[in-house]
Subunit: 299 residues, 2 copies
Amino acid sequence: MATGHHLTEDQWIRRWLARWPRRLTSGVGDDCAVLPAPAADHDLVLKTDAIVQGTHFTSNDPPRHIGQKAVNRVLSDFAATGATPLTLLVSVGLPATISPAVVEQCYAGMARAAAKFDVTLSGGETTRSREWWFTVSGLGQVKKGRAVRRDTAAAGDFIFVTGTLGGSLRTGRHLTFTPRLAEGQWLAARRLASAMMDLSDGLGKDLPRLAAASGLGFAISAGALPVARGSDAHGAVNDGEDFELLFTVRPGEIKTLMHAWPFDTKLTTIGVMVSGGRMDVDGLVFSGYDQFKKLKVES
Amino acid sequence: MATGHHLTEDQWIRRWLARWPRRLTSGVGDDCAVLPAPAADHDLVLKTDAIVQGTHFTSNDPPRHIGQKAVNRVLSDFAATGATPLTLLVSVGLPATISPAVVEQCYAGMARAAAKFDVTLSGGETTRSREWWFTVSGLGQVKKGRAVRRDTAAAGDFIFVTGTLGGSLRTGRHLTFTPRLAEGQWLAARRLASAMMDLSDGLGKDLPRLAAASGLGFAISAGALPVARGSDAHGAVNDGEDFELLFTVRPGEIKTLMHAWPFDTKLTTIGVMVSGGRMDVDGLVFSGYDQFKKLKVES
């Protein structure tokens, strides 16, 4: 099978673009992409995120899923802000040992994930490297004043998560999850989330981050955790890569939220924010996920 | 000396931010950065670019220069569009063997390069990896309709370059160049450049790209090339990494351009665009630079 080192950079870019639907590209080929600015009552929203072979995916994962994950991780951050992603820029570091067929499937996975949410590609770059990595940067918009942050929770707010937690790496869900864009945008538009972030590193790491950003502590109930099938409470807290939404809700808004929630996505109250820095973890170990300490999933 | 693997991701981010002047940060710490949209008479401009150890820099290069290059490569693309860069997102792949002191110097180089052009940092991410790389994504603005492209040259337009060409890798200029932002913005604001791009891969590769994008050929004069001291015409065409501007000018505008050019930056006419795909290279070898074929600068 032909490998990548027979192709020039221009040839790579042509292959790349061939896999991305024409209606989803804009400005590719110039030094920069140029796009119309959003309407005046909107703010701009930006995010960059990287995935690296051996840390976030392995060479045994289906290439389409690798591409899908690279895009959906960024879309998940837009979800957590309550924003609408508009366009992506993608940089790829590509070893010569990766075959063009694998790369094309990977791009197809990216294009499919983007198309699902009407997100365009505004630029792509491929760089020769020793390991395989992707950086995806996204530009989006949100109505002025409606972006949800993580430092705005108040003591007494209840803590919610979407979906189920735990076992994401083991089951492959870390590759195929659906970013909670509709849910995040719905919460932001109705101002129902007082603070929000996505669970990329695990509740055990991300909830302390949200609490610290808000200058608060929290108390959670181990029995309330929405544990994914085949996982347990420890996994739900510490496995990471769930890409569910973690958000807080003022006590007076909970009835509205529960009544109006229009999604099939599971919605669970797991605890409450408290003043001071106290972390009441109900006997759970809150080690979290830190990729700097994590064992590589392949050598 | 302590190495990076003793630090968590959060600790890395704190170190990172400590090096970036406070007035230059916005939105760091949330899932996404949120910024005001530009005025309604502006378009948005986007670019992403990556540099990889062994291809774009070596571990022997001063860390400040590595950071400076990562930022200035992107600013050079904004220059080639005639746009104003506003803010950057930076992803770093970081091996455990790189010391915190080296990383901090590198960030200081980034911050200094950004500050020089009043560009802010809207997000940073550090990912554990086996090789050292940076991806910098930029968001900027340009007055509606004033962005300069590379596919808009016409037959008969004269070809110009800024500065001098050749020997950039050998002399270290590829690390310390100044992006031609003022020059690019000036040309775009006055509509003097009919097409423009930056010379990242060398005239021998980039001029054929501009010509192909415009559906044209070109004729250049070997004797007219502004050869950098210590280089020669072959180097000026093929070495790459000059980060000068390559642009075309309608014949009727040349007098205006030459008369009004307010910069110390050298300005040279090197040839003319011609109809058809003919490339008259005046005896020069136009091999260009292709990083996919390039020898690594370190093993």
